[in-house]
C-alpha cells in the first residue's frame, strides 16, 4: 500500500532529498571542506593557499569548482589490462554508498514530532554500521580491477586498515547502546538532552575519533593513499570524472562520519535556541548547532594532516588491536558499572 502524501509532505520530501541532508548538502559540504582544508593547511604552513580563483581575487572560494570543471574535461583512460566493468563501476558505487548514510541521520527535531531526516528507522545505527562495512570491498575491488601494482598494494593496505578499525568502532558503539538502550539515532540524541555522552564516555569518544580517522584514511593514518610509498593507493589509475567521483566520495564519507559522531557523542542538535533562526523555524536552530559541531569535528580531523607524520602499517595495526580495542573494552566495563547512576539522569528514553 502506497501512503498518500499531502502537498506539504511532498514539498518536505523534495527539500529533504534534494537540498538539506540529501543531494545538495553533501556536495556543498565537500566543496567547502576541500576549500577549507586547502586554505587551513596552507595557513599552518604559513602560506595562503588558493587565492586568485573566485570572487574578488581574494578568497579562492571557487578553487574546487575550477578543479571539478577541469576534471570532467579530462580524457578518461582505462588501463588495457584492467577488469573494465568493476573498474568503471567502483567510483560510482563508492559515491553512492558514501552518500547513502546521510539518509539515516537525524539532523533536527520537527516541532510537530518526528525528525528532519530522509528515512526514519529505529535501527539506523545498525544500518550506518553496515554501510561503513561495505567501503573496504569497494576499495579492494577498485584496486584489484585496476591491475596495477601500486593500486594492488594500496588496496591491500586499505583492506587491512579498514577491517582492523571496524572492531574498535563497533565496540565503542556498544557502550553508547548500553547507555541509551536503543539503536535509534534520534533516540540517542534525545537521551543526551541533559548531558552529552562525550562527558560520560570520554574514552569512547577518543577511540571512535581515532578509529574514524583511520577509517577515512586521514593523515596520520592515510597509509592506503601514502603518496611517498604507493603513489596514490587504490585510486592511482583513475582519471578525470572517475577520480572526481572518488575524491567526492571521500568527502561524503567525512560528512557522514562527522554527522555520526555529532549524533553519538556531541548531543546532535541540542543547544540553546538561537532567537533569529528560531523565529523562522525551530528546525533551523537545531541544524545550526548540528553544523557547528560538525565543523569543529571536521577541523580536528583535518588538522591531523598538518601536524602528524604518517604511521607505518604495522604500527597502525598494532595500535588498533593493542590500544584501541582494550580502551573500548575498558569503556564498556566502566559504562556497565556506572550506567545505573546515569540512566535516570538522561532524557528521552
Amino acid at each position: 500500500m502506497i501512503p498518500i502524501l499531502s502537498f506539504s509532505e511532498i514539498i518536505e520530501l523534495i527539500l529533504k532529498v534534494l537540498i538539506f541532508p540529501g543531494l545538495a548538502f553533501p556536495l556543498l559540504f565537500a566543496m567547502i571542506v576541500i576549500w577549507f582544508e586547502r586554505k587551513f593547511l596552507a595557513r599552518i604552513m604559513l602560506r595562503i593557499g588558493p587565492l586568485h580563483v573566485g570572487p574578488l581575487n581574494r578568497t579562492g572560494l571557487f578553487q574546487p569548482i575550477a578543479d571539478f570543471l577541469k576534471l570532467i574535461q579530462k580524457e578518461i583512460i582505462v588501463p588495457d589490462n584492467a577488469y573494465k566493468i568493476l573498474y568503471n563501476a567502483a567510483p560510482i558505487i563508492a559515491s553512492i554508498v558514501a552518500s547513502m548514510s546521510v539518509a539515516f541521520i537525524p539532523y533536527a527535531p520537527k516541532p510537530d514530532g518526528g525528525y528532519w531526516m530522509i528515512y526514519y528507522t529505529p535501527w539506523s545505527l545498525l544500518v550506518i554500521l553496515a554501510i561503513f562495512t561495505a567501503r573496504p570491498f569497494i576499495m579492494v575491488g577498485a584496486g584489484w580491477a585496476s591491475n596495477s601494482k601500486y593500486c594492488t598494494l594500496g588496496a591491500i593496505r586499505a583492506a587491512l586498515q579498514l577491517l582492523a578499525y571496524e572492531v574498535p568502532i563497533a565496540l565503542s558503539l556498544v557502550s553508547i547502546v548500553i547507555m541509551s538502550r536503543t539503536f535509534d539515532l534520534a533516540k540517542i540524541v534525545e537521551a543526551q538532552s541533559s548531558i552529552w555522552f562525550i562527558i560520560l564516555q570520554p574514552i569512547g569518544f577518543i577511540v571512535i575519533l581515532i578509529a574514524m580517522m583511520a577509517e577515512l584514511s586521514r593523515r596520520p593514518f592515510d597509509i592506503p593513499l601514502a603518496e611517498q610509498e604507493v603513489v596514490f593507493g587504490w585510486p592511482t589509475e583513475y582519471t578525470g570524472t572517475q577520480f572526481a567521483l572518488v575524491m567526492v566520495s571521500e568527502y561524503f564519507d567525512l560528512c557522514a562520519v562527522t554527522s555520526l559522531i555529532t549524533v553519538l557523542f556531541l548531543g546532535g542538535w541540542s543547544g540553546p535556541a538561537i532567537p533569529i533562526l528560531n523565529d523562522v523555524s525551530p528546525i533551523l536552530s537545531g541544524v545550526f548547532w548540528f553544523l557547528l559541531k560538525m565543523a569543529i569535528l571536521t577541523v580536528i580531523i583535518i588538522m591531523g594532516r598538518g601536524i602528524y607524520p604518517r604511521l607505518r602499517i604495522d604500527q597502525l595495526l598494532d595500535a588498533g588491536w593493542t590500544l584501541l580495542i582494550p580502551l573500548a573494552i575498558i569503556q564498556i566495563i566502566i559504562t556497565l558499572f556506572t550506567a545505573q547512576w546515569w540512566i535516570p539522569l538522561l532524557g528521552g528514553v
Binding site: P220, A226, V231, I307, P309
Partner: protein, 360 residues
C-alpha cells in the same frame, strides 16, 4: 604471496631522479637495487674539453641542487695547490661564509625532504621558508639564488656589500630561534619518532667499511670531518665542534644535520666578526703547471674529493670527482633489506642522496 618486482620512479613523489627496483613480498621489501644515471651529463668528460675558468659553471652544477659553493671549493683548492697560489685572507673568509650559508640551506632542504618522506607536509614548508632567508643573504652576496659561481680561481668574485653583516647576524639569530619550532614539530613529535627511530641502523664499523661520508658517517658515531682533519681555507681558526649521533639510525642522521646547522651558525658568527680587510682576488694565470693532486673538502653532504691531472695546458687532462652522494649510495641497498615498504623512503631521504651528485 609471490615476490613482486616493483619499479619506483623516476616519476614518483619521493624518488627524485632515481629509480629503485624493489623485490616486494606483501609489504616487505626484500631487496632494493638503485637504478641511477637519470641525470648523468658526463661532466668529467666535458671538463677535459673546457679551460679551467670555463669549468667553473660546469663544476658548480654537479651539485647545484643545494650546495654549489662547497662543491666548487674542492676544485679551486686543487687548482690553487697546483699553481701554488695563496688566496687573500679576506677571500678565504668570504668563501667560508658562502660555504657555511650554503650548508645551512642544504641541511634545511634535507630536513624538509625528510618530513616529506614521512608525510608531514607542514615541515616541508617551514624549513623551505627559512631557507629563503638564507638564499636572500646568498643572493645579496653573490647575485644568484642557487647557482652562484661565486668563488673563482684566486679568490672570490664580489666583496661583501654594505649592510650584509648586520643583515646576516639578524637572520642567524632568527634562524636559531626558529629551530626550536622544528624540534617541537618534527624531532620531538612522537609520531615522527616512532617512524624514524631504529629505522636503517648503520653501525660505525659498517659505515667505515662501506665508505660512508659526511653527516651520515658522523651520525653513526665516527668523528670524521675534513674541516677538522685537514683544515682548508681558514677553518682551523674557528672554534666549533663536530656533532655525532649514537645509534646511527635515520633519526640520528636528521638530528646531526640540525646540530650542524647550529655549528654553522656558530662559525658564521665568528667569521663575520673577524673578517679582515684587504683584496678579495689575486690574478691567476690561465695555465696550470703539470702535476697531480687530490684534494678533499667538506661539502654539505660530506667529503668531496677532486683528483686532477694537469698536463701543463689550459685544460685539465683528467678531472675525477668523488662526490659524497655517490659514496653514500652503497648504503641504500645495504640498509634496504627486509624492511617494510614504508621505511624505504625514510631510509633513502635520511641518507640525503642527491641524484645530480651521484650521476655527475
Amino acid at each position: 604471496m609471490s615476490i613482486m618486482k616493483l619499479s619506483m620512479g623516476p616519476q614518483h613523489p619521493i624518488t627524485g631522479h632515481f629509480r629503485f627496483i624493489l623485490d616486494v613480498d606483501g609489504d616487505l621489501v626484500l631487496k632494493l637495487e638503485p637504478d641511477i644515471g637519470y641525470t648523468h651529463r658526463g661532466i668529467e668528460k666535458l671538463a677535459e674539453k673546457r679551460t679551467y675558468l670555463q669549468n667553473l659553471p660546469l663544476i658548480e652544477r654537479v651539485n647545484s641542487y643545494c650546495d654549489s659553493v662547497g662543491t666548487m671549493l674542492g676544485y679551486l683548492e686543487a687548482i690553487e695547490e697546483l699553481m701554488g697560489l695563496e688566496v687573500p685572507e679576506r677571500a678565504k673568509y668570504l668563501r667560508v661564509i658562502a660555504a657555511e650559508l650554503n650548508r645551512i640551506a642544504s641541511h634545511l632542504y634535507a630536513a624538509c625532504l625528510f618530513s616529506v618522506a614521512t608525510g608531514l607536509e607542514t615541515m616541508l614548508m617551514w624549513p623551505i621558508n627559512d631557507r629563503e632567508l638564507i638564499l636572500d643573504l646568498l643572493e645579496k652576496l653573490t647575485g644568484q639564488r642557487i647557482t652562484y659561481t661565486y668563488p673563482t680561481i684566486g679568490g672570490v668574485r664580489f666583496d661583501m656589500s654594505e649592510g650584509f653583516k648586520e643583515e646576516a647576524l639578524k637572520r642567524l639569530d632568527y634562524l636559531e630561534k626558529r629551530t626550536e619550532d622544528y624540534y617541537k614539530m618534527l624531532l620531538w613529535n612522537h609520531t615522527f619518532q616512532i617512524r624514524a627511530k631504529n629505522v636503517g641502523i648503520l653501525k660505525p664499523s659498517d659505515a667505515i667499511r662501506l665508505g660512508i661520508v659526511g653527516p651520515n658517517l658522523r651520525a653513526s658515531g665516527v668523528k670524521a670531518d675534513v674541516r677538522k682533519d685537514e683544515p682548508y681555507e681558514v677553518y682551523d681558526r674557528f672554534d666549533f665542534s663536530i656533532p655525532t649521533g649514537k645509534n646511527g639510525d635515520s633519526y640520528d642522521r636528521l638530528e646531526v644535520r640540525f646540530k650542524e646547522v647550529e655549528q654553522s651558525i656558530n662559525i658564521l658568527r665568528q667569521a663575520i666578526k673577524d673578517i679582515p680587510k684587504g683584496p678579495i682576488k689575486k690574478w691567476a694565470p690561465p695555465i696550470v703547471p703539470k702535476g697531480e693532486v687530490y684534494t678533499r673538502v667538506e661539502a654539505a653532504r660530506g667529503e668531496f674529493g677532486y683528483y686532477i691531472v694537469a698536463d701543463g695546458t689550459m685544460k685539465p687532462y683528467r678531472l675525477k670527482m668523488s662526490p659524497p652522494s655517490f659514496r653514500n649510495l652503497i648504503a641504500l641497498p645495504y640498509l634496504c633489506r627486509n624492511v617494510p615498504l614504508a621505511d624505504v623512503p625514510v631510509i633513502y631521504i635520511s641518507l640525503d642522496l642527491i641524484p645530480m651528485d651521484v650521476d655527475r
